[in-house]
Point group: C3
Chain length 436, copies 3
Amino acid sequence: MPDHSGQAADPGSIDALIEAQRPGYSLDQAFYTHPAIFERDRERVFRNHWFMAGHASQIPKAGDYLLFELAAESIILVRDAEGAIHAHYNVCRHRGSRVLLAPAGNARAITCRYHGWTYAPDGSLQAAPRMGADFRPGDHGLKPCCVRIVEGLLFVSLSDDPAPALDDVVAGLAPYLRLHGVADAKLAHRETYAVRANWKLTVENYLECYHCKPAHQEYCGVEIKADKIGDGSPAALARYEARHRVWLARATALGATMPEFGTELPLDVSLPRAQFGAAYRAPLRESYLSATQDGKPAAPLMGGFRDYDGGETALGLGPFTYMLAYNDHAVFFQFVPREAEQSEIVVSWLVHGAAREGVDYDRARLTWLWSVTTEQDKSIIEANAAGIRSSRYEPGPSSLLEYDLDGFRAWYLAVTGPPSRLKRLSRRGGGRYFGI
Amino acid sequence: MPDHSGQAADPGSIDALIEAQRPGYSLDQAFYTHPAIFERDRERVFRNHWFMAGHASQIPKAGDYLLFELAAESIILVRDAEGAIHAHYNVCRHRGSRVLLAPAGNARAITCRYHGWTYAPDGSLQAAPRMGADFRPGDHGLKPCCVRIVEGLLFVSLSDDPAPALDDVVAGLAPYLRLHGVADAKLAHRETYAVRANWKLTVENYLECYHCKPAHQEYCGVEIKADKIGDGSPAALARYEARHRVWLARATALGATMPEFGTELPLDVSLPRAQFGAAYRAPLRESYLSATQDGKPAAPLMGGFRDYDGGETALGLGPFTYMLAYNDHAVFFQFVPREAEQSEIVVSWLVHGAAREGVDYDRARLTWLWSVTTEQDKSIIEANAAGIRSSRYEPGPSSLLEYDLDGFRAWYLAVTGPPSRLKRLSRRGGGRYFGI
Amino acid sequence: MPDHSGQAADPGSIDALIEAQRPGYSLDQAFYTHPAIFERDRERVFRNHWFMAGHASQIPKAGDYLLFELAAESIILVRDAEGAIHAHYNVCRHRGSRVLLAPAGNARAITCRYHGWTYAPDGSLQAAPRMGADFRPGDHGLKPCCVRIVEGLLFVSLSDDPAPALDDVVAGLAPYLRLHGVADAKLAHRETYAVRANWKLTVENYLECYHCKPAHQEYCGVEIKADKIGDGSPAALARYEARHRVWLARATALGATMPEFGTELPLDVSLPRAQFGAAYRAPLRESYLSATQDGKPAAPLMGGFRDYDGGETALGLGPFTYMLAYNDHAVFFQFVPREAEQSEIVVSWLVHGAAREGVDYDRARLTWLWSVTTEQDKSIIEANAAGIRSSRYEPGPSSLLEYDLDGFRAWYLAVTGPPSRLKRLSRRGGGRYFGI
């Protein structure tokens, strides 16, 4: 399946290519460039898994809405007068116009700007002037999109069928989200980075810290595990373990009562880690209380924390969404497919819902680390995509620090490949996010 | 025929899709997005119908030319020393270069900038230096393009075969063009709006005023029928009819002698309305004399008018061109296909040929209504195109005010579909422009 | 093979199209626009022929490197500590990232910014942290690219197999390069012109001076042969021949000792002119010593010249690279394919290696002629490409001055067509560059 010819691939040839991928190696060029593979991703991946679309605090009042856009889709998330949040495809049932255009706002009635068709927050069609006698408004509501709120986080699924189960996930991840007070948080800042690369390159970049030392100087000044990774010698490991024990004792003493506190979060093995996984809780650099340039706190404490323990919690909230949370703020990363070689990274910073900008936190201080780091990621991801376009690119082997990539790729090939492959997919020990 | 896969459609699958379209509903996604459908549009629609390319007043002197561009084509319209206007493909017969690049100008000889091949206004090759002995200049004239001048309007057809007949059309429409003095007009302003949407969405937008009330506040302040449409109650209709009778009597008294004056222009039913149709003549808002912000005249009276009757005449000049004319100016709308999802709307304002800018008319006043309205149309058409790209888009039903869309779509599917479909196409009562 | 449908061409249909091309005429539209043809060009042309990538003076010190990019490829040319120059594909063997991003610089070790894999200048992998026990560094060096240095010029070939032979070429062309002192030159200026056109249109533009009179006023003021071409009468030819004899005698007297001096460079007929050819050595406009606006020298004498003879030497250094050299500077033209309808023209000006900018030469004076002329070429090439996109484009006949185009096209069709065609390719008398 040559990538450059513009030739379309038949489904069988995609299946054969999937079967030909070598475990422990990066994928063939076509997976990162070919429109036919992107089409399959659309059908098998984007439609069957949950995307985080935002946080409930972004739409606090009746009629408040936000849009979530990926590939060719636009989803409206809107709060009704009773406080419930609904999700709909942003496609008017008249002639298909986007109904709402502004990325966020307040719309007590959802009125299409084009012909004035008006929908209730629950999606039902309330008004459509001058339609014929046989027109049935009840058949022309906005098409619903699966939505689920987990500790204030808004998740949507593009699935036609009943959306994938989420209850086990909630049970597994909610304690960590509650510890960090995510439900009571508010959005302090949000930044979108356009990246000229396939979405899988943006996820792969996130799933490993093998690149942290060469690419992220600022990050390595804040996150202690980067030291560990950077050297890897027995002596470094021993130093890290000692620090870790001190931090763990201190964190527990401070009242972070989660019993499972530790380097790896011991999620119930029945959790569908193919979609949602937990990663770790670990200390920042010695003496750092938060992920800021000087290590001092960035904002008021959140959730269950009574003092700063200098720790970081990492969670995987589905294949496209990840969280890094400190005692005083939480950062969410959304990896959003747009086209075969175009994606977006959306970074959201959350603080305590009562925190006041300029008083309780400074936006620039708060966003420093993940602004500078995501800019670096955009640059290295785009360089990765450029190299993969070469005729001489061939998949290379994973390092010992890229175990999560192998888990991700095994999961990806299973859900996009022939059914037999999905059956063969079994639990693997390596990865933390996709350790299936 | 999935739209996103990059897969090419075979001709049979396009025919099947055409047959599957539901009357009274918008078209399937592929008609607005797929390059293979655009290719069929190119072969069956763009090549077989007339485009208005400009007005004779734009090229008054010998050697004056203008370019008309659509899709990948560029047409030269040039006036010769005897005053005749010729049209040629702007493709040098040597190695294919565009011969003229500036969108308009004067070129006594049409000389290709690349190698100096020089053509007469009639397209014949006059000079081609250093060609071999067997070179026959007579075989290397510019390829001719069908051109026809109707009351000063320049029409071109990309047809290879004899261009579609136009005589009946001229007979049917010329009285209205003469009433408005189009032949003696001049171009006062011209604006091109690039629209990221398929050309059919630009035409559909024009063919209905269902969207006027939600989308065009300024227009609704000027055009009385928008009031009628906006409410639709029996009382509103009665008010409108009363106003209309008053206006009709006044217009007739003012010497607008066209016997058929009325809401609908009674064109001869033998007129090929699939290509050219008449719409209506109707009054503006009460007390408005022209389509200006304050209702006062914009320019000197044109054509047969002896005073302002506050009326507007609407004509369809082929599938891609429409006219709205007032007592003192005429506005032409060209909907120009460029790519599958890229079009242009070109708006031209004509005034009396003797009117002087800054003295007899003010350009900003003259162009106010259709500048602001076309900017709005660009925005809503692009939102329509964006929504149609969603996997959840499905064709929706027309309102009672969108009869012309049904006529347009029936015509479109007939001329692009299998031959049997064209035979089935019969006269329908609904539409004014495409009421075939 | 319609160009606009997005339909992919099967290999057989490309072969049939190649066989259908008419000698002495420009090529069909698809050769200048279709992605499937570009894909064949990539396989058969870009991979099998030499590109000039730069000049050794651009990377004088150990660790100095430059990148050469064409289509989707990026090549690193780097000098090692012993002074040898190596070429590698700029694709990390880990996950495919571009290793170096800046177009030129110094990199004692070639370290991938992404994960820190580090390569020696000879491409061998020196460091790859934290790889598994079974990882074999020796299998993961940068993929080598064929490189050859000819009189200071850096040539690369994308060939998988042994690169095409170059020895005969060197033997044939080296005397001319030595006369002009190319090996001892340095890069004074380099400019890249993005051109929206297929690469073949950029080469065709270079290979004929039929367009010089209509398109290049400045060039025609400097180059005497343009006068000859512009008129072509027996009287003009006689005047030119007389001037030429005077110049030839003077040039010889000045010690330009090359015995073959003359209008046409008599290369050994065994030279594979399909790839490398010589064109001519001819005088500039009378009294002009160099190709400058006022005819005065631009820089110190180079190579074997002891005084200014006012001559110009033209060489073809493969299908993508050409040289024009004067007594005091040499200009190299690289025609670089990027996409089916996107190319670059890279122009490099070389002067004597010891010449100092601002003292021995003025950059603006030096680059004047080929800056202004290449800007003009960009414009006319893009107009050529635009015209060829028309449905009414058809190939046109070559003039008597376009003999090199016929040679180029015959060569191109032979190397991209079915094998039988390559066998039929025989020596032809017409062209100077591709006179095969």
